[in-house]
Symmetry: C2
Subunit: 197 residues, 2 copies
């Protein structure tokens, strides 16, 4: 029986808590050491749990990685939606969205690295094409007005690449500019992505 209380909490609660610890540990490792640092054993050591509990919540190493990525992805999506829902004017919306994204990543760079780097470095994510960023780009830039479908697709892909690279450079310290200038530049990228040649 799952509802039976044990040590003050129910079994399901404790199981969920352990799952949370594992995801947190996964975020920590994926966000600092990258894909190679995320082994079942390392995650367990980090979460101070034994392998037993890993396989209680995840079938695979892969499943954990996906869970971490989607966990962060959901946070980012939510942050974007919140930021956008406040304002109606397009330029302001873009600015608010970019600002929300930057703040999410600067307040916790691990999240930025998971979101931007993990999908290209970890096979578990690469294979499945679980790339949330393109959908973010659509969300941010609304609908691009110029060009046909292929044109818009290229523009959107390029925009995501440009933003990612700028963020990454900022995160690893090779781009030294103020937070405000970074945001400004990214806003201009977003707004300028849809111009006639």
């Amino acid at each position: 029986m799952a509802g039976r209380s044990w040590a003050g909490t129910t079994l399901d609660d404790r199981k969920a808590a352990r799952r949370g610890q594992l995801v947190d540990a996964g975020l920590d490792l994926l966000g600092t050491q990258g894909s190679a640092g995320v082994s079942v054993r390392a995650v367990c050591r980090h979460a101070k749990l034994t392998e037993r509990y890993f396989y209680e919540s995840f079938a695979d190493r892969e499943e954990l990685v996906v869970a971490v990525y989607e966990h962060i992805g959901e946070q980012a999506r939510q942050a974007l939606v919140d930021a956008v829902s406040d304002t109606a004017e397009p330029a302001e919306r873009a600015k608010a969205a970019v600002r929300a994204f930057v703040e999410l990543m600067l307040d916790d760079p691990r999240k930025g690295r998971v979101l931007l780097l993990a999908p290209i470095t970890d096979p578990a994510l690469t294979t499945r094409g679980i790339a949330l960023l393109p959908s973010f780009a659509e969300l941010v830039s609304g609908q691009l007005s110029h060009g046909d479908a292929a044109e818009r697709q290229m523009t959107s892909i390029g925009l995501v690449g440009a933003l990612s690279n700028v963020f990454i450079a900022y995160l690893d310290g090779s781009l030294k500019v103020s937070r405000e200038r970074l945001i400004d530049h990214c806003v201009r990228l977003v707004l300028g992505a849809d111009r006639q040649p």
Copy 2:
């Protein structure tokens, strides 16, 4: 004595040939299976040589990876320089450069993946900040006229990111456009990177 002839060739020659085989094998693995596929043993199996000869030419797994990256980087640089040296008119130069780059990568996608993906996926490259692409961007876009140093740096980083992402999408098949449209779009990206907001 190194000049002594053996089996028709000198020792140094054979050593260099083996080194070449190892680098080729490294390119093959890094360009298809990614960073994780490049282990000393896998490279040796692929090159049909034994570990002994690996350590004859490289101290580390790391050294091999760097050698592969720089090998391809040099090829790309050369292709760019050749393409640019033909024409003087800026727009034509950009077009020629982009075309040369695209052709290099399409004729051998492994090279594209090594050049674009390896520096962010392999720790041996990530750590050392061996990213040739920024210097390529400068070479391609000449000198950006607008903005101060930080502005130009952000623009350049963004441009590289945009191009990389478009290339990558093209390489893995998620972007289905003709070669000509791809080149056109990239040329517009390069030319448009340096416009006033």
